[in-house]
């Protein structure tokens, strides 16, 4: 949909690979997502994984409900989205408390760190607070070398302690989207 940079494939980041390995290790089976350029490498890996079911959504709240059904049916999942999608989830996030879900979401941030598009700023500025008001624990990774331990901790508390958790992947980590004519 939109590339963040013009970086060639050989410079692909390693942190999405770290996330993919963690998801595999925790036996994550359903991966609902609304596409984001920051998640594109991870989505490609999920689409190619026979043990995982990638589920493209029309809106992010569908993913919260999907993961509730998956958990009732015995499977773990993770919701991939961009910060603008968090607002779309608010009422459905009730399910994380109602069912005490082992809920994990990985959110690529917009509206911060050199943002070009002002329309991303309001939701990006309230993303963490929206999660916290909804009873979701928030962790953040801003540098490539910390992604692995942050996602590992998030997955651990989400899946082992049924503590709904969001990881915010900073725009500083992903790189501000470049708009060119």
């Amino acid at each position: 949909m939109h590339a963040r940079t013009d970086a060639p494939p050989e410079t692909a980041a390693s942190w999405p690979e770290d996330i993919f390995a963690i998801l595999q290790r925790f036996d994550v089976r359903q991966v609902p997502y609304v596409p984001d350029a920051g998640h594109s490498q991870l989505i490609e890996r999920v689409l190619g994984a026979s043990s995982m079911r990638a589920v493209p959504l029309t809106t992010e709240e569908e993913g919260v409900a999907l993961l509730a059904g998956a958990w009732a049916g015995g499977q773990r999942g993770v919701l991939l989205m961009q910060s603008s999608g968090v607002g779309n989830c608010v009422n459905m996030l009730s399910l994380t408390q109602i069912f005490r879900l082992p809920f994990l979401t990985l959110v690529t941030m917009r509206g911060e760190w050199g943002e070009f598009n002002p329309w991303q700023v309001p939701m990006g500025s309230s993303t963490a607070a929206v999660f916290e008001l909804s009873g979701i624990k928030v962790l953040r990774a801003s540098h490539a070398e910390e992604v692995r331990e942050v996602v590992e901790a998030a997955a651990g508390q989400a899946y082992n302690a049924c503590t709904p958790t969001a990881v915010l992947l900073s725009q500083r980590l992903i790189g501000a989207k470049v708009f060119t004519k």
Binding site: A68, W71, A72, G73, M92
Partner: protein, 196 residues
């Protein structure tokens, strides 16, 4: 609006679930959950008391996790309208074990009977078909309910969608458990999963 030719919701649901066997049944919030409770409490009933617009997606998550089990979502027209995009998501995934039944009374019965979009313009069967759910049908007779009920056990020929036109009578509520953790833990237990 004439009610003469419309079906009665509790008769429809009890007939659909009469031979449910191992099926998981998800009820959308409001009257659909009461209808499922009225047909008999069951440890594979997934009662919703909120999350409006989420019933089909909960059914999809369950259907993908348990592909050999029939999963039946029973919900109302208002709840379905709020989650209409989920029909597109189901159409893409094509879970062969998922059935979606909309009990369409063309009103928001729980909130005072305000007209829903299906009363005027929206054709949910057309929407479902356009989203890629080719087995989509309108049901208006109990004979059609009977035929459809038999197909719910088929886990290799879905997804399927049915809109059943029902009358808009507000029936006495039959209250299921409102405890979501109890409901999910009970379903997981029925499927052989232990608590964490």
């Amino acid at each position: 609006m004439s009610q003469a030719n419309l079906l009665e919701r509790r008769s429809v649901v009890s007939r659909l679930l009469a031979e449910r066997n191992d099926a998981i049944v998800v009820g959308g919030l409001g009257a659909s959950t009461y209808d499922i409770a009225a047909a008999g409490d069951h440890d594979r009933n997934f009662y919703l008391w909120g999350a409006m617009g989420g019933a089909v997606m909960i059914g999809l998550g369950m259907a993908l996790a348990q592909p050999k089990l029939p999963v039946v979502v029973i919900t109302g027209d208002g709840e379905m309208l709020m989650g209409m995009g989920s029909l597109a998501t189901v159409g893409l995934q094509k879970p062969a074990n998922l059935t979606i039944v909309v009990l369409d009374n063309e009103v928001y019965g729980e909130t005072g009977g305000q007209a829903s979009h299906t009363a005027a313009t929206v054709d949910l069967v057309g929407v479902a078909r356009a989203c890629g759910i080719s087995d989509s049908r309108a049901i208006s007779t109990m004979a059609e309910v009977e035929t459809f009920a038999a197909s719910l056990q088929e886990v290799s020929s879905g997804p399927r969608f049915a809109s059943v036109k029902i009358d808009s009578a507000n029936l006495e509520r039959v209250l299921s458990s409102r405890d979501g953790q109890f409901t999910v833990t009970r379903i997981r237990g029925a499927l052989g999963f232990k608590p964490i």
